[in-house]
């Protein structure tokens, strides 16, 4: 299957991205036994791998100009991870006596000072309820809140700012679609197609709604540890009313071709809801290009505060949907025995929203945009391949999901198991004895783990502020951990 990459907006193709591309290939050749890439003359001869990531815009430019030296090579400019790390105060601490290596970004990301500052500034300077008052502070708060909505709309390239609804998180956004669109539109015998690799938040609301409406859930199984797209096409029928799919899997690291999935689904008259929690923070996501009907994401996975998330929905869809939660803000007129409702987005934002958090999300988007999502994406591609191949070198390990290649993209995360050692033991020891934070368990994907034939797995997930040195530390720590359990037990 052709795993299509995320869609880059028609951007200026700088020479820098080509430069980076070739560097990463030579890097790959040096570190892995895989011969997928044509041999290219290494741009820095006789180096095991090159850490350089010289790009000419924004934050990186200044540092690159100074040629900030790294311990191993004074000529190389620092990686994106090295450049951005100082922005994240939480990363600079010792845990259990060791430097923290935070590899649990798929669970939640860390926040830069700019976002933390935006939150405290809101409360210090202009906290006030939004949409209600006429006084100065409330006007300022309202402006900032609505400005955050604009930022989100621009970030995902929504056609209309009214297509962004702020929720508490992606889970609530999915429940909104389930209880509002789902309950209203699904009839007995209607089919909802999901993949077996979906997060519980994408599955459970639909189980509840299916019970209410008589609709039926159908699952796309795995083939070679990725969702089987041929099977998916086979499952689509005139009964399919909704397709629920992840963009990037939080366990497998695989990327689904959303544009193709939307095409196939629309042909049979089904709507598509995309869980973009693991894609929006890491790459450019263009909802118009993908042509999705609904898309959800969380603020806290993209450097924003917890307590905020959003639903994108096509405006004509949202306009036809009944309210989800009732209360203040989402009404026009309220009488004793009935009320009239507001237009979207207000219709779906009942009560006082998480104002500070939405503004914080806006600040996070500003921060990410100042780096550039393309740059983040490219850096994480390097990290992803490095992590995967380094992990592959550990004996008796099994990494779930596809191997990265020219045609197959992987997110910068790996879920894995080591023969005869429980992932919880690994995660505990990595934390206690090495300060490395990974996750162990089923990662909110029990059906997926059953399909893979395991109870639990360990998962290391990276973000743009992680570095290859941290990956090295992690691999050393993992080997030490495995040694401990195989010799002591």
């Amino acid at each position: 299957m052709a795993a299509s990459l995320c869609h880059f907006p028609p951007a200026v193709s700088s020479s820098s991205s080509l430069f980076v591309g070739s560097k990463s290939r030579s890097l790959l050749l040096a570190v892995s036994p895989f011969k997928h890439f044509p041999a290219k003359p290494s741009l820095s001869p006789s180096r095991p791998w090159t850490r350089s990531y010289a790009v000419s815009n924004d934050a990186a430019a200044a540092a690159a100009a100074f040629s900030v030296a790294s311990p191993s090579d004074p000529r190389e400019s620092p990686s994106l991870g090295e450049i951005t790390r100082p922005d994240f105060p939480i990363l600079h601490q010792a845990v259990n006596g060791f430097n923290l290596v935070y590899f649990d970004n798929a669970a939640t990301s860390q926040k830069p000072s700019a976002v933390i500052k935006a939150l405290s500034e809101y409360y210090e300077l202009y906290n006030s309820n939004v949409h209600r008052g006429v006084h100065y502070l409330s006007a300022k708060a309202t402006d900032a809140y609505e400005e955050a909505r604009n930022k989100v709309a621009n970030f995902v390239n929504a056609a209309d700012r009214r297509e962004i609804i702020f929720t508490r998180n992606a889970t609530e956004a999915i429940n909104l679609v389930a209880y509002s669109w789902g309950v209203f539109n699904l009839r007995p015998g209607d089919e909802i197609v999901l993949t077996i690799a979906e997060h519980h938040s994408s599955i459970v609301p639909w189980q509840i709604v299916a019970k209410k409406t008589g609709a039926v859930l159908k699952y796309v199984e795995l083939t070679k540890e990725v969702p089987d797209l041929d099977q998916f096409k086979g499952l689509l029928s005139k009964n399919t009313k909704l397709v629920v799919a992840h963009h990037v899997s939080n366990v497998l690291g695989s990327v689904l071709p959303i544009d193709e999935i939307v095409d196939w689904s629309h042909k049979v008259g089904a709507k598509v809801l995309v869980d973009a929690c693991q894609s929006v923070p890491h790459m450019v996501v263009d909802v118009q290009k993908l042509n999705v009907d609904f898309l959800v994401a969380s603020s806290h996975k993209m450097c924003g505060p917890t307590g905020a998330g959003f639903l994108y929905g096509k405006i004509n869809l949202l306009s036809s949907m009944p309210p989800f939660l009732g209360g203040g803000e989402m009404i026009t007129d309220v009488f004793q025995d009935y009320s009239t409702y507001a237009e979207p987005p207000s219709r779906f934002e009942a009560g006082t929203p998480a104002i500070a958090e939405a503004i914080g999300l806006g600040a996070a988007i500003d921060y990410l945009s100042s780096i550039g999502m393309e740059k983040i994406h490219n850096y994480e591609k390097e990290l992803s391949e490095y992590l995967y191949y380094q992990l592959s070198s550990v004996p008796n390990i099994h990494i779930y999901g596809p191997a990265p290649s020219n045609t197959v993209r992987r997110a910068a995360l790996c879920s894995f198991n080591v023969d005869n050692i429980h992932p919880t033991d690994i995660a505990t020891f990595l934390d206690e004895q090495h300060g490395v934070a990974v996750r162990s368990g089923h990662h909110c994907a029990q059906p997926l783990h059953r399909a893979l034939g395991v109870n639990a797995s360990a998962r290391a997930s990276l973000y743009f502020y992680n570095t290859k040195e941290e990956v090295d530390t992690f691999i050393r720590a993992l080997k030490d951990t495995i040694e401990f359990f195989t010799t002591t037990a």
Partner: protein
């Protein structure tokens, strides 16, 4: 007791060398020397205990440990069974977390495997990230004592389960029920364990206490003229339970009653379905063991009368619940004690499921028997 022996030998294996500290500045070279050193530590012979340099993070941890110890002197040591106190002392003498882990793993390795028949939801401990099963039964040699068995798929959790099994087995239910949960802080493992794992530990303890109390209640009931179903026993005897646990008792799940003596099929079967050929069981045991082991010597003795009237025997009015088995067979060569017992239990599966409660086994190879 075996735990103390391990205590003395392993305490000497602790080494605190400055080289164990991670170098905070650079990654590669120092870390690898740390690794080499730690590897050699695992295989090294007993080394003397060194005092720690003040500035190390390990010293800081030891200091925190001492603080915690002082805070927790309020834990009443008299409430803890002696075996548990030994184990606690062992862990307190090992300040370094990695060595504590090693100790934990050793305990886990010593835990005998749990019969897969007991790996059911009724035995499962809730609140654990890994799978943990716990089983309680009365000691065949001492009706007031409770014995435990446990297992887990995670090595560290198995170690924790082993601590509880070794620490609590052999104590009466009244003592077990009074063990305060916060003794776990005395182990000094708490700071080395994630909160969810800690919860698992506490839940394990609670489940074991519940099962112990259940056994106690049922043994108290055997004074009654007719056998009472354990399910109703749990509800009507809540007051008794409350008095034991000091009012903190939780609802004992109905199915736990069926695990009395660990025979999970017992409550499912109707009491009338037991075989009524008197003396037949002993014959059948002899038959099966002769078929399976071709022993050179075999003695099977019915000692059910010694256990008449205690928990689990209710309803088996014709005895034939407890046997002493002494067998010498070449089949045992090269097998550990656990494997030998497993072999015998496997041969007597049918008996175990139809009213046989416990076996006291003496299993030797011919060479062992003649030299012993």
């Amino acid at each position: 007791m075996a735990a103390s022996c391990i205590f003395s030998s392993s305490a000497r294996r602790l080494v605190a060398s400055p080289k164990l500290l991670p170098n905070r500045s650079a990654f590669p070279s120092n870390a690898s020397s740390f690794l080499c050193l730690s590897r050699s530590l695992l295989f090294s012979s007993p080394i003397s205990f060194q005092s720690l340099p003040r500035s190390s993070p390990i010293a800081l941890r030891a200091q925190q440990q001492r603080q915690q110890d002082q805070e927790l002197e309020s834990v009443d040591a008299s409430l803890l069974p002696p075996k548990l106190r030994d184990i606690i002392a062992l862990f307190q003498s090992v300040p370094e977390p990695k060595a504590k882990y090693q100790q934990l793993l050793h305990y886990g390795a010593r835990l005998p495997p749990l019969d897969p028949a007991f790996k059911t939801d009724a035995h499962r401990v809730r609140g654990c990230v890994s799978q943990v099963w716990v089983r309680a039964f009365s000691d065949p040699d001492d009706p007031t004592a409770v014995r435990f068995e446990a297992d887990s798929d995670s090595a560290l959790t198995k170690g924790l389960a082993a601590l509880l099994v070794f620490g609590l087995s052999g104590s009466p239910a009244t003592v077990i029920a009074r063990v305060p949960p916060d003794f776990v802080q005395l182990l000094g493992l708490r700071q080395s364990l994630t909160p969810s794992r800690n919860n698992g530990f506490l839940n394990m303890l609670k489940l074991m206490q519940q099962k112990a109390v259940q056994l106690y209640i049922e043994s108290a009931q055997t004074g009654d003229s007719k056998p009472v179903e354990s399910k109703t026993a749990s509800t009507t005897n809540k007051e008794e339970k409350n008095s034991i646990l000091g009012g903190e008792a939780e609802e004992v799940p109905g199915e736990s009653a069926s695990q009395v003596n660990g025979n999970s099929n017992l409550a499912d079967k109707d009491e009338t379905s037991e075989r009524d050929d008197l003396g037949g069981r002993r014959k059948r045991i002899i038959e099966r063991l002769q078929q399976g082991l071709s022993p050179s010597e075999l003695e099977v003795e019915d000692v059910s009368y010694l256990h008449a009237g205690h928990a689990g025997v209710r309803g088996s009015t014709d005895g034939e619940t407890h046997f002493n088995v002494r067998v010498i067979s070449k089949e045992f060569e090269g097998k550990s004690l656990v494997k030998r017992h497993r072999l015998i239990y496997d041969l007597l599966q049918e008996e175990l499921q139809s009213g046989l409660h416990a076996l006291s086994i003496d299993a030797k190879t011919p060479s062992e028997a003649h030299s012993g």
